[in-house]
Assembly symmetry: C2
Homo-oligomer: 323 residues x 2
């Protein structure tokens, strides 16, 4: 009997599930809504019910699975398989997750932080090409990330390893970040950060630009609007993308000057701009790296999209293969 | 019979040796001059002769040793135990090191880069307190370093991991670095970098200062002179130390925002300034880190001095304990 992996990507809006081969191929996937009502107390039971239902539907039992892996927002305790608080799930205190799922399903369980898990996915079967040294950066509502160095996910002493969004890229006149520092990457490269950069540059831009006009007008302008305008030749929008690319290139370079990974993989909504964004980040990356890093570390765009979470989550369960 | 470790710290001026317990206690240590003549061809034979002589003197045989570990300057190939070029040893092509020593001594051998090895030493029995996540930064003629993350030394894809001296701390108006980039930490925090910062600040400083006068006079001023003057109350020298501390604090913060180590340990000649320097670095570290890192990552001064090399080298040999 060929054994499989189960991956769960728990998010604030949906829970995604995947049944994967041991090589990381997604054989089945589905999703349910995340019910965050009543302090998030329905989430774990909903996951268990969905898993039981689907396994029965597919004619699979616990013996078909090596293990279950899960990515969760919030603060994850990997030793006890609990989540000790997750704002967007309404989980306030310590939430039993692994022990309950393991008991109900009878399959070994492992958990990690959602950004780390997405990094594992991109590293395993995505842009990272299964290299032992891969840095993943995700540009969305915030800027998150995960670092795999010498084959290990780097958690750090308090689990804050890989918090790439809080690298300082503007130490002197930066925007205030939600973390309390000024000049964090997140303040200039998240979806809202891109708009902040646009607002700042709009103050001194003197040419014609529909995007600048919209900003000055108080209209809602998104990072997507800005990237699309830049690609269509709006010079103001282009200057915004250039500045954001400078920050991303500087951050990617400093990470690489420290860790010399095989690649820095850029994912998340903002990365939908693809090669248009990547090539500009690379330009600044080349400005700020030293020769050995220039020659060996690559800047890439993520390949797995939304599947990175279930794939990376499933990869956590590979630790149970030998058992 | 209690078994021991042998550590060798190969440098451009001396080769240091140590016999250590498995717990990292130095029982014997000695040093020989490094003979770099004739393309450095005497170095390995000299090391072997010295080892044989001392082991006989101490009444020790190969059976007393678990293994030999060595730190070397230059580009180290850990798989083949060779050094593929080391400028300050006059080694140009690939130099057989491990195979020759292993054959002559009959003891298993391991090698790594000298800065990495010093990091291992400080992590093991120095300021790092054997924590699995320690970053070591050495401020000397250059700025080097080593990173231990989740218990592993980080080498990166081309062996350039831990090159902390090339983090960019002044992206806009930095000094040119030997690596070709502008604004690397090494250009402002190495022994010569501190003097460069002093020269720049001297241009606009208007008060009285013997150090500023010496710089304007074209006298030789060292980083040590500047730190001593600052500690004695020279306001100009103090402003130089403040600026250097800002750069070191920013670099330490960005490393920690990425890796969340237990500690950033600062060693090398410039770190002789001790708490005077550490407390100022910490001030800027606290400015540029996010709350979880502020609360969990510490800035420390190295404790082992010159012994970090032999101790870290010896720690490489601990991989042979199980054999």
């Amino acid at each position: 009997m060929t054994r499989k992996l189960l991956g769960i990507d728990l998010g604030g809006t949906t829970v995604k599930f995947g049944v994967l081969t041991l090589d990381g191929e997604v054989q089945e996937k589905w999703a349910i809504e995340t019910n965050v009502l009543d302090g998030g107390k329905h989430i774990v039971p909903d996951i268990i019910a969905s898993l039981k239902h689907r396994l029965e539907m597919y004619g699979l039992t616990k013996d078909n699975f090596v293990g279950i892996g899960m990515g969760s927002p919030g603060a994850v305790d990997r030793d006890s398989n609990t989540v000790t608080g997750a704002f967007n799930l309404n989980w306030k205190g310590t939430q039993e997750v692994g022990s309950v799922i393991e008991k109900e399903l009878g399959i070994p369980f492992a958990i990690d932080n959602d950004a780390n898990v997405a990094a594992l996915g991109e590293r395993w079967v995505g842009a990272g090409e299964n290299n032992p040294d891969v840095v993943f950066m995700t540009l969305g509502t915030g800027v998150g990330g995960g670092i795999i160095a010498d084959g290990n996910l780097i958690h750090g002493v308090a689990g804050a390893g890989g918090e790439i969004g809080h690298i300082i890229v503007e130490p002197q006149n930066g925007f205030l970040c939600t973390c309390g520092s000024y000049g964090c990457l997140e303040t200039v490269a998240s979806a809202t950060g891109v708009v902040k950069v646009a607002r700042l540059l709009a103050e001194s831009y003197e040419g014609d630009s529909p995007i600048k006009a919209a900003i000055d007008n108080g209209d809602t302008v998104t990072s997507k609007d800005i990237f699309m305008a830049a690609e269509s030749g709006d010079a103001f929008a282009d200057s915004v993308v250039e500045k954001v690319s400078y920050y991303l290139g500087l951050a990617s370079a400093n990470i690489s000057n420290i860790l010399n990974p095989d690649s820095v993989v850029i994912g998340g909504g903002v990365s939908a701009a693809g090669e248009f964004l990547r090539s500009r980040i690379e330009k600044y990356f080349m400005t700020f790296t030293f020769p050995q890093v220039k020659q060996s570390t690559k800047v890439k765009i993520a390949e797995l999209g939304n599947d990175a979470g279930i794939i990376g989550a499933a990869s956590l369960a590979r630790q149970f293969i030998a058992e």
